[in-house]
């Protein structure tokens, strides 16, 4: 009896050690970001990059907050709207591609999937011209449209894979009872989709939140998202890095909040529901 317990104990220690090691590795960049954001401009150089700030300089955060405020608002509107729209399109597309296949649906899916491999830089000019023609150039709505459209392939893929894991029997029995397309979607698929929405939500939100090139080309001053604002902080000939680092921490904050918040739903969604056999 002693052996298994001892072994389990050692295993646990090894486990936590390994996790600890990776924690340190993963946190190194954070350490540097935080430490740099608290330094005075003249103290920032390569040789002292690891050292703690001395003295601690807090003003960067208030300056960054003031400068990034309007951009944060734009980004929040942009990311939330585009993510929600994207997620719904993805879920209903995924429902079709996974549970309502018809002849040619797989071909359509593959053709849509290829849209994932288009580099953002090359479509800049036609995208700009198209948005201008529709009249959406310069506003957040244009950016939302662009992100929703180019997000269709990946959200459809993620949801299709997610729904593939839901056994068909549940749908079959509902269909036998006379349930139609939308009934099954709203009463059976959606309740089970929470983890799917979480994954897709996290993915789209972060991608849209951190996207730079379209943000700077397709918007005007007043509708600039936060990535543009951040790059303004990091612009100029002689960058004092404390300011953009502080700005980066502020920028990352909403996203990390989402991770923490959605992470809980993630696990809850997994343990409930009839996904497990």
């Amino acid at each position: 009896m002693k052996h298994p317990t001892a072994r389990l104990y050692i295993n646990r220690i090894i486990l936590y050690c390994v996790l600890g090691l990776f924690t340190v590795l993963f946190l190194l960049p954070v350490y540097m970001t935080v430490v740099t954001s608290l330094k005075q401009p003249a103290d920032i150089n390569l040789a002292t990059s690891w050292s703690l700030p001395n003295p601690v300089f807090l003003k960067s955060f208030s300056t960054a907050w003031k400068l990034l405020g309007p951009n944060l608002k734009n980004s929040l509107i942009l990311s939330f709207s585009a993510t929600i729209i994207s997620a719904f399109i993805g879920s209903i597309n995924g429902y079709v591609f996974s549970k309502n296949k018809f002849k040619g649906s797989d071909l359509i899916f593959t053709l849509i999937l290829f849209g994932m491999f288009i580099p953002y830089q090359i479509i800049l000019i036609p995208l700009f011209q198209t948005l201008k023609t529709i009249g959406l150039y310069g506003s957040i709505s244009g950016l939302i449209l662009a992100h929703v459209v180019y997000g269709i392939p990946i959200v459809s893929l993620l949801f299709r894979n997610f729904y593939d894991q839901i056994p068909n029997d549940i749908l079959e029995s509902a269909r036998l009872d006379g349930a139609g397309f939308f009934y099954i979607f709203s009463h059976i698929m959606l309740p089970l989709s929470v983890p799917g929405f979480v994954t897709v939500g996290i993915w789209q939100f972060t991608q849209i939140w951190n996207e730079f090139l379209w943000g700077i080309t397709l918007t005007k001053q007043s509708s600039n998202p936060v990535t543009v604002g951040l790059s303004q902080l990091a612009g100029g000939q002689a960058v004092s890095w404390n300011l953009p680092m502080a700005g980066a921490i502020i920028t990352a904050f909403p996203v990390i909040l989402i991770f923490i918040f959605m992470g809980k739903y993630f696990i809850r969604g997994l343990l409930s529901g009839s996904v497990k056999g």
């Binding site: 990059s49 649906s105 953002y120 090359i122 397309f181 972060t206 996904v275």
Partner: protein
């Protein structure tokens, strides 16, 4: 039956907006790009005028990209892109799976670890790029860590490195390709000879035999593709960037695998335990094969991400560092700095095809499943 038809109609109507939008914004634009790549728009000055000269030149831009000396950098970028993608995938998939396995064990503070491994995705590349650049700076960052423990600073130049391993000469490319093809075909022939089923044996043997002959003959007939020797290989400078990219996306694959592992029916674990299989065997023989759909979709997502490496490379190494170049950066500079729209478009098409290659395993697998 009527229900089935009604279902299909509704399905098509639901898909219609997506099809239309993707049709215009993806295929329409790709079509436009392909058309531009077949012209000489931007070769001469005046590419930005209201009515620029665009003469049809066929595949000349593509030929130039592979044979003109000035595009030697593009060729290296292609090799870099292959390595970036493969290392990102191998790294993110294995590290992510490893983390998922660790966290699947009722770890205390699992939420903390999960957020920890996932958070790199949240950071903007401007910051990630700069921080990693500092971390990999030869005179600061990782290289001086040993000095804190009394050791010598590390000598590796990371992103500034000009070292290259696995070099090969681009002139030898057709030879390499055909040798590989010949080996592959020979292996298939041998395989055919070994199998017992006679059904299509003769037919297959003939097909593959002819292929080998064809390949060998072609090899002899083709002229050298480059007049001068040009060495390419795996640039060690890309290592730093690959590490940063794996750091950024290992958390995401971890989340996928964690969900997958949790969704594995208890019955599987129990039967493995009953059979006396150890943990390692369980993961190797049962968990991984069952998680194949996740792996395949993660591969596609990571291929999509490897296109976005533009941002990371741009921020870490700058646009002009030839050792860490990527076709997307080259394309951006060629289009918007050198105003050479046609060549930029040709690069984009090649890049698109390269990235789309990673969809093939997914398609093959889905196809096989349908059978």
């Amino acid at each position: 039956m009527i229900d089935q038809r009604k279902n299909t109609v509704i399905s098509i109507v639901i898909l219609l907006p997506s099809i239309l939008l993707v049709g215009i914004f993806v295929y329409g634009f790709i079509g436009n790009t392909i058309v531009v790549s077949l012209t000489d728009w931007g070769h001469a000055l005046g590419g930005l005028s209201l009515h620029p000269q665009k003469n049809f030149v066929g595949l000349q831009n593509y030929r130039d990209l592979f044979t003109n000396f000035i595009h030697g950098r593009f060729r290296q970028d292609l090799i870099n892109a292959v390595f970036y993608s493969i290392i990102l995938m191998a790294g993110a998939l294995s590290l992510g799976f490893f983390f998922a396995v660790l966290l699947d064990r009722k770890v205390r503070g699992e939420g903390f670890f999960r957020t920890l491994f996932l958070y790199p995705m949240a950071l903007s590349f401007i910051v990630t790029g700069t921080i990693w650049r500092w971390l990999f700076a030869p005179s600061g960052g990782f290289n001086i860590i040993p000095t804190f423990f009394g050791g010598e600073p590390v000598d590796f130049l990371w992103i500034s490195s000009r070292k290259r391993v696995l070099s090969f000469n681009w002139q030898n490319l057709p030879q390499i390709f055909f040798t590989a093809a010949a080996i592959f075909f020979t292996v298939v022939i041998l395989q055919q000879l070994i199998t017992r089923s006679d059904k299509h044996r003769l037919r297959n043997l003939i097909i593959w035999g002819v292929s080998v002959l064809y390949v060998v003959v072609l090899h002899r007939l083709l002229p050298p593709i480059l007049p001068v020797e040009e060495l390419h290989g795996y640039n060690l400078a890309t290592l730093g960037i690959s590490i940063a990219s794996v750091w950024q996306y290992a958390g995401y694959t971890m989340a996928l695998y964690l969900a997958g592992l949790r969704a594995l029916p208890e019955s599987l674990k129990e039967s493995a335990q009953l059979d006396g299989a150890g943990e390692f065997l369980f993961y190797w023989k049962i968990a991984i094969p069952n998680l194949k759909p996740i792996t395949l979709s993660a591969v596609i997502v990571l291929a999509h991400i490897s296109l976005k490496m533009f941002d990371l490379i741009y921020a870490m190494a700058g646009a002009d560092n030839a050792n860490t170049g990527h076709p997307s950066i080259n394309m951006y500079l060629t289009t918007f700095r050198a105003n050479n729209f046609a060549v930029g478009a040709a690069m984009a098409v090649i890049l698109f095809i390269l990235a789309a290659f990673f969809i093939i395993p997914y398609l093959v697998n889905t196809h096989r499943e349908m059978r």
